[in-house]
Each structure stands twice: as structure tokens, then as C-alpha cells.
Amino acid sequence: MTEYYLDNAATTAVLPCARQAALAAMDRYGNPGSLHALGRDARALLDESRRSVAAALGCAPETLYFTSGGSESINTALRGAAHKNKHLGRHLVSTAVEHDATLNTLRALADEGFTVTLVPPERDGSVAAERIAAALRPDTILVSLMAVCNETGAVLPLAETRAAAAAACPQALLHVDAVQGFGKLPLDVSACDLLSVSAHKLGALKGSGALYVRRGLVLRPLIAGGGQEGGLRSGTEAMPQIAAFAAAARERSAHLAENAARMAALRERLIAGVRALGYAVNMPEEALRAPHIVNFSPCRGRSEVWLRALSDMGLYLSGGSACARGKRSHVLAAMGLPKNNIDAALRVSFCPETPAEAVDELLAALPQVGRLF
């Protein structure tokens, strides 16, 4: 049985170049903080890795901080920004389609006395710039948006939000959760103050990520310690992960446009196919779709049953987000979709290496599985 991995938004296979970089970094085992030759060698590798990831993001190396992953980056950014600006106001704006890393951090901040406004999505999963603009207040100090929604693949209006915030609340910091956007879409870090990314969504290792912090902005760290990463993130640098992250970032950014076009073609082919089967497509118009994510629902049965049956046929996808593990998707619920759609919703996510026949196999398998219901 051929296996097709169609759950790249959950995590990706490790790219050969990333694997090699990680293995090589294990041999260069010095502590980047040590003053001897081995330490200097590790420091050189760290600096080089930082330059690579920064180049892929289009930011200066000294504005990029390595972390343990997307969740830590988001926590650091949101808590740091909220506390930094709390003397200017206590209002935070985000959207109802964010990842739980954001939503639960905002909940914790709400418990500390901040007020949070979550902007609802449209029925197609897009988030309207006007709705975000309408949520901004003079005392808004932080706006946090995803670049790409991990469940629907909707691209959120970052530039418009930036412009609206500049007018309505110039003191507000803008954080972008680019975990699903990095390496898939061109990102403009100059349009935001903070930006979070994760390595394992990009072909590198789990347990690794980064946070971009605009030059001049100083945040309170979550982790105190030896002062690594400019004091923002203490702890000896995870060199194999960081080196792998850099290798994957180089590889993905070098081919970003062609990879995106390839995945977008698969996406449209899959969307046309599931539409022909009469399934609901839970995605915005084509211009607002990230290249690698398709969300659809046969509107009967339950996702977990579909997933088990498809898994037995060698097709690995997910229902909603992999983190939710069987819980109902808060994103699809916020979109106001009917219960039968949400309960059976499926998410397919591609990587640039996904073969075209994976889509054909899936489209052939779906009606077979549909006979279960």
C-alpha cells in the first residue's frame, strides 16, 4: 500500500538537508557561550543559522530570536507586548480563528485584567479587514493575527490591519502568528512588530522556532537564565534543531514561488474534486487561500471515522487541527457552519513534495469511505 502524507499543517517530514544539518551540528557540540575553539565554532554555526532564517524571513539577523517553537514564540510575544504597553491601555484585539496558543494566552491575559476582543470570521473562513478595523479602540495596545489560518488556510489581511491600527491606535503592537505562513507565502516583517514561526512546519525538527522582534522593542522574557538570545530566551541554544531550521528555511525560501504554485495547483484540483462529490468546501475565495491547506466536509459521519478509514487506505489527513484531538473545531464553529459540516470536516495539507497522485487517490477513496455512512 502506498502511503500519502497529507497532514503537513500538523507537522512535516524532515528534509534531507535539515537532517544533514542537524547531524553535522551534533558533531560541532560546543556550547556557543564557551570561549574555546569548540565554543567559537558553535557560535559561528549559530550566527550563520540566524542569518539564514532571518534572510528567509526578510529581517535583520539581530532581530531574530530562536525559541522552542511556535507556542513559546507566541507566548513570549503576547505576554511581553501586553505587559510592555499596559500603561497605554488594556485592550487586546485578535480573531476567533487563531490557534489555541494565541487564544489561551489571551485568556490568561484576560484573567490578569486585560480586555480581549476576538473578531469573528466570515462564513467562508476569511477575516474581513473592516471587522478588525471596527474592533480597534484608542486604548488597543496589541493586535495579534495569523498570517494563515491553520484549519481553513485563509490568508488574513495583515497590511490592511496595519494601516487601520496606525490610524486608530498608533501605540498598538502588531503580532503575526506566521507558523502556517512561513515558507508558504511571501511575508513582510516590516509590516509588523512581532512575528512567530515554527521549524517543524517547514521540514525541520520539532522543538524549535523563532520570534522576530522589531528593532528597538524590548520584551520581558518568559524564561530567566544565562541571558542567551539577547536575554529574551535563556537556555543553551538547541544547535541541531537550529541548524536544521536554517537549512530548511534556506531550502524553502529559495523555491518559495514555484513551491507555492505547485501546491496551489494541487489545492485547486482537490477543491474541484470534492466539489464534484458534493462536499462542502470550508474555504475563502481563491485569492485568500494559502497554497497548502484545503478544508472540506462531506457533511455526514464523524471526522474521526473518516480519518480511521482513510488511514487504513494509506491516506493520512486530519480533521480540523491536529492539536484538537477530536474536540470540535472552534474555527469552523466561529464560521457558523452547521453541525453536520463541522462534525465531518477534514483538512488536507500539502508540502512541496506531495505527489499529484495523492490527490487522485484521495478523491477515489473518499466516495468509498462515504459508503460507511
Binding site: E304, V305, R308, A309, D312, G326, L372
Partner: protein, 388 residues
Amino acid sequence: MREILLLKCGELVLKGLNRYKFEERLVKTLRYRLQKAGNYTVTGRQSVYCVEGADGVPIEPALDVCARVFGIVNICRAAVCEKTLDSITETAAAYLGAELSRAKTFRVSTRRSDKHFPLTSPEIDREVGGRLNDLYPDCRAQMHDPELTVHVEVRDRWAFVHAAPLPGAGGVPTGTGGRGLLLLSGGIDSPAAGWMMGKRGMELGAVHFFSYPYTSEDAKQKVLTLAQELTAWCGRIPVYVVPFTHIQTEIRDKCFEDYFTLVMRRMMMRISEAVARQEGYDALLTGESLGQVASQTVEAIGTTDAVCGIPVLRPVIGMDKEEIVRIARRAGTFETSILPYEDCCTVFTPRHPQTKPRLFQVEREEAKLAVQALVDEAVAGVERIVIG
């Protein structure tokens, strides 16, 4: 000081001429389970069994095992001593010294099964009580409702001293109540029902209906875990996993929705009965509780019983959910039961299930299925997994 367990049997002593069968079975169970816990010997007289570890083997693991052996009403963790007043007093002072220092009032309560011992039970009470009172003057002797009762047992070879007995599992020994096949779903009620019948001496098997891919491997694993938890009380449990998907899809495709659950329950009963006959079980056991769900009204139970030719025992039929939960907690199955995996009963739930079905209506729906062929197919596909 030698420490042992004295295990007291309850209603076994009321049995007549076949009492020895119950006792044999109990001792066999004790020896079998204890052998897994360590090097212990079991000796028995007069419906009291004595568990003693080899030199240096602690008694606690044996206590854990014995507390889950049905047929034992209470367990005394006791110190062994010579049958002299001096030895009994010394041992009581050493073994229960902490309790005697803490308590304000105490009494001594003696049982003397060795009638050749020179003092009677009340005389031993007075004598040992007096000497202990001299040693612990702050602890006053009080016959009625004292804080601490020092139990002295004078038996054939030794005397024993212990404080309050611990409750045993109760019931009658496993294997003396026939063999029952439990319909084990993964919920709270069916393991509790199995535990209750195990307590009445039944040797258990379990049948589980598996509806892959509608229910997951996790759900099946959960049922095997529940069976594992019951084995601590009931011993080895074979689990018969029945492939049930085809039957469920047939019911869904051919029967009127309101009768899905009833037809499904009747199919389960037929298959369970076939497995029971094939594997030598005398009865089916279910966790049904009257009126708890639509298929557990008396009318619905009537329609499911109609297809079953062997007794169906429903030990929790008259219990409230809280009472069942209490039993499940005692059995140690509750925490597993509440893990969130769907079981076969909720795959195709009717929107408006029949709560007062008439037998002819259910039979009419069922006539749309090739009942015998489906039952045969399911029974042929049974997977037997022995737990424990």
C-alpha cells in the same frame, strides 16, 4: 515479631454439605493470586485462613491481594505470639503500643477456639486488659464503645493480637457461582455489573462488540483495560471481540430508524448467547439499569429478552447512576470507563428511539435482515483475547 493476615469467611460457614467445595475454591484462589505477589503460605482451619510470608517478606502486598478476593469478609492484620498471658500482653503492647498511647479508652476482646486453654475468654479479657492498663495508665478501660479494641484470638497453636479488622471483598469465592458472560461496552455500568456477579462467585468472560472503523482501536483497548482491572477481583477473563460493523450497517440500511437500537440489542443478545453456549457460560450479564436509556425500559428489555434462551442477569437494574458509580469506583474501573472513546452503542443512534416498543413491531423490522446468517458470520469472526 511475626505478622500475618487472618482472613475471615462470611456466609461460607452457613453452607451445608458442599461447604468444603467453597473452601477449596477459596484456598485455591488465594494461593494462585498470592503466588504472583510473593512467597506466602496459606493455611486454614475453622473458616479462618492464615496468610504468612516467608522470612523477610512484607505482609502489605499480600494484604492488597487478599482485599480483592471474594469470599473473605474481613481481614485482620495480626501479630503472632505464644499462648501465654505474658506473651499475649507483651505482643499487644509492642504491636499496638502506638494506638494504646494515642487512645483514651480501650478494651480487650478475646475469642478462644482452643477450649483447653486454662482461662475463659472473659478471664483473658480482664487479665490482659489489666496488665495493659498498668503499662498504659492514660488509656482507660471501657467496655462500651471504646476508642480501641485489642483483639486476642487463642487458637490451636498460637495466639494472635490485632486491632480493628479491615473489610474484605465480601461475597463468595470466584468459581463457585457458575460462569457468566458479561456484555462489556466500555461504559461505567457493565464493568460494575461484572464486578457484582463476580462477587457472587461467578467466573467471568466478556463479550465486546467492535464496530471498526466507527469505533476505534482505542475503544477496544479501553475494554481490554477494563477487563484487566476486573481480573484483580475475578481472575482470568477471556474477552470475545465480535466484529459488529456489518450488522450495524445492515440495520442502518434496512430497518426503520426508531428501532435501530432495539434490533441491535437483539442481535447482540443472539450473538452473546451463541458465544456463551459455545464457550460454556451459564448466563449473560448486562449493565442495564431500568429506564436509564431508551433501550432499558421494561418494554425494551422485554423485546431483547425474547430472543435469549439462557438467563440474563442484570445486577444493577434497580440502581441509580450514583450507586453504580460507587461500585465502579470500588471495582477500580471508573477512571477507565470515563475515557472519551465512543462505543458501539452510540454509532447509529436514532433521533427518536422507541421507548415502549411492541414485540411484533421489532420483529417486523428485524425480518428485513438475514438474522441467522449475520449472527453466524459474527460468531465465526470472534477474536478471543485472554486477559489475566
